[in-house]
């Protein structure tokens, strides 16, 4: 099976702090990581390859040159090949424009790596949180999609996908080629091995630019090709600290809390 995993390099949002004086995000020194949900997608692909060792996993990312570090991380975990899609003219793209560029890049990569049976994505990126690029790639390619997947396994010409639902999980059968977006499964993604890591350190990662993707309509990419625009962004106001209770003993603090909650009609 030939699987493409779409990956975004993101700032580790758990490490982001707010500058209390300017009330802005402090991005300096925040490590860049493989988007958490994309790591789950990669693991899902790796599990298919565990069972079907003749499978190939290709990973693609759109972003700046630095995103190669995240692509190498994917190579060290499970991917066989990595491509970067990078060009200044792609900058400022919203999800619609991004998915358009990526779907063109996927067609290009298929010329080099063969047709993909499945395209795996994280359900969303932890910086943007939109959960849009996966389904939009599916629409551009006219592939069926399954979102919020936990696990996937190959079943002849289709995938059996365990999907997280609001009232329990579902098993969905989906014809290949298809797009599946993954959420957090019950297992942890595997670690990189030393052998793969060292090979990844030496890997050459080809970059696809707009010159490599001649079919792209320039009017549909970048800031100009994006229907949505950010009017403003701001750090949400945090509630000022509430009542802090620190009585003589912890038990007395608990009693005091019940009293306050009762007074406020919370309980």
């Amino acid at each position: 099976m030939n699987i493409l995993v779409c990956m975004k390099q993101v700032p580790d949002t758990t490490e982001i702090k707010i500058n209390p004086e300017t009330n802005t995000l402090m991005r300096e020194g925040v490590p860049s990581i493989v988007n958490t949900f994309d790591a789950f997608a990669l693991e899902a692909a790796a599990r298919i390859k565990d069972k079907h060792p003749d499978s190939k996993i290709v990973v693609v990312s759109m972003g700046p040159e630095q995103a190669k570090a995240a692509l190498k991380e994917c190579l060290s975990i499970a991917a066989d090949k990595a491509y970067l899609v990078s060009d200044r003219v792609f900058g400022g793209s919203d999800t619609l424009a991004t998915s358009y560029i990526l779907s063109n890049a996927i067609r290009k990569i298929e010329e080099l790596e063969g047709k993909f049976d499945a395209i795996f994505c994280g359900k969303q990126a932890i910086d943007g949180d939109t959960a849009q690029v996966g389904p939009e790639i599916a629409e551009h390619l006219d592939y069926p999609q399954v979102t919020y997947a936990l696990e996937a396994e190959l079943d002849g010409e289709r995938l059996r996908v365990l999907k997280e639902g609001q009232d329990g999980n579902m098993v969905i059968g989906v014809k290949t080629p298809c797009v599946v977006t993954f959420t957090k499964p019950s297992f942890d993604p595997r670690y990189p091995t030393i052998k793969r890591k060292m090979a990844a350190n030496r890997a050459e990662i080809p970059t696809l630019t707009s010159a490599d993707l001649p079919d792209i309509d320039a009017a549909r990419i970048g800031l100009k090709g994006s229907p949505t625009h950010v009017k403003r962004s701001f750090v949400p106001e945090r509630k000022k600290s509430g009542v802090k209770i620190q009585e003589e003993t912890d038990g007395e603090s608990a009693v005091k809390l019940v009293q306050l909650l009762g007074d406020a009609h919370v309980i």
């Binding site: 999800t95 098993v171 957090k184 802090k244």
Partner: protein, 334 residues
């Protein structure tokens, strides 16, 4: 696509029993206000099979018009059928704005639809307004795990679409239904539906944890120290009739199943009361619970960030605090 009307549409998702999900009815409330400002009607869209209840629910919550698409192929949600039906309606009637509840199915269909129309979609909004300068909808949504809010416009494409987080808006009180009901015949051939529901696993992990619907949540974090540390957390939850939540640290340590996780990689919750026990308040956790009406934090570290969002904070050992708290509440309830 051009807008043919100034109407605002609300997609009213249905439940298995054919009634409307809460979020669709919630959206009719701000939808009314936005529709009035846009100078168009408020239209509810219902797709399904046997959904009369949802139609009257939508009418009772202030829709001027309800458009219904019914057919056996809509019994269960599928991306292909629902997107096709929705696209057909939009092409035919040309609304200027579409609101969709940010449920799993809403967020599955939204981008698919927006991409087919080639318009903009703003996901998981927590604020809706009209931009005074341009008259566009101003969609406000969190990003960076709730660290940053962005207000987004879609100036040149119609309809402008947004998915809106459940629980952000309250339903309006029911009114006398006066909606015009339009029944639209539109069918999708079976071969055009490329996914198939093979199995439903009701009791996924042996237990169903309804965090999103809970009025009260008592959560444990790294500070509970181990699986047995959840015992006092559960005891408090029991006496409050609350659901047990957990931070990522506790879930990753294997102390409790992922179904309980609150935060960016878990569930986003907005209960009336959220009690955080031994949770430091990592930003990704705060992103999932800071919308709670009242937050109580119990932590031994006085500098824990959880205290920044807490309405009430106890600096102390949770194993000392929780038993007393449980006992006091039990007395209160007796």
């Amino acid at each position: 696509m051009e807008a043919k009307t100034r109407d605002l549409w609300v997609y009213v998702e249905t439940k298995e029993d054919g009634s409307a999900k809460s979020v669709g009815l919630e959206l009719l409330h701000p939808g009314r206000d936005l529709a009035d400002k846009q100078g168009g009607r408020l239209v509810a869209i219902v797709i399904g099979s046997g959904v009369e209840q949802a139609v009257s629910d939508a009418a009772a919550h202030g829709a001027d018009q309800v458009v219904v698409v019914e057919g056996p192929e809509y019994k269960d949600y599928t991306t292909d059928a629902y997107t096709a039906a929705m696209y057909h309606l939009i092409e035919k009637y040309g609304p200027t704005t579409l609101l969709i509840g940010a449920t799993p199915d809403g967020r599955d269909m939204g981008p698919r639809l927006a991409c087919r129309i080639k318009t903009g979609l703003t996901a998981d909004c927590t604020g809706l307004d009209i931009d005074p300068e341009s008259g566009n909808v101003a969609w406000t949504r969190p990003a960076f795990g709730g660290n940053l809010m962005a207000t987004i416009l879609c100036p040149d494409h119609r309809p402008q679409i947004g998915t809106v987080r459940p629980g952000v808006f309250k339903k309006s009180a029911p009114v006398e239904a006066k909606a015009e009901i339009i029944r639209e015949e539109f069918h999708v051939a079976p071969e055009q539906i490329r996914t198939e529901l093979l199995e439903v696993i009701r009791e996924a992990a042996g237990e169903l944890v309804d965090l999103e619907g809970a009025d009260i949540i008592v959560s444990g974090g790294r500070g509970v120290g181990g699986p047995e540390g959840f015992a006092p957390v559960k005891a408090l939850a029991d006496v409050l009739g609350a659901t047990v939540g957990a931070s990522r640290a506790a879930v990753d340590s294997g102390w409790i199943s992922h179904a309980h996780q609150v935060g960016q990689t878990g569930k986003t919750v907005a209960p009336k009361l959220y009690i955080a026990c031994g949770i430091s308040g990592a930003i990704q956790h705060l992103a999932g619970m800071s919308g709670s009406d009242c937050i109580v934090a119990i932590n031994k570290d006085p500098d824990a960030p959880i205290f920044d969002v807490a309405d009430y904070g106890i600096v102390g050992n949770l194993f000392e605090v929780l038993p007393v708290l449980t006992e006091e509440i039990r007395k209160l309830k007796a």
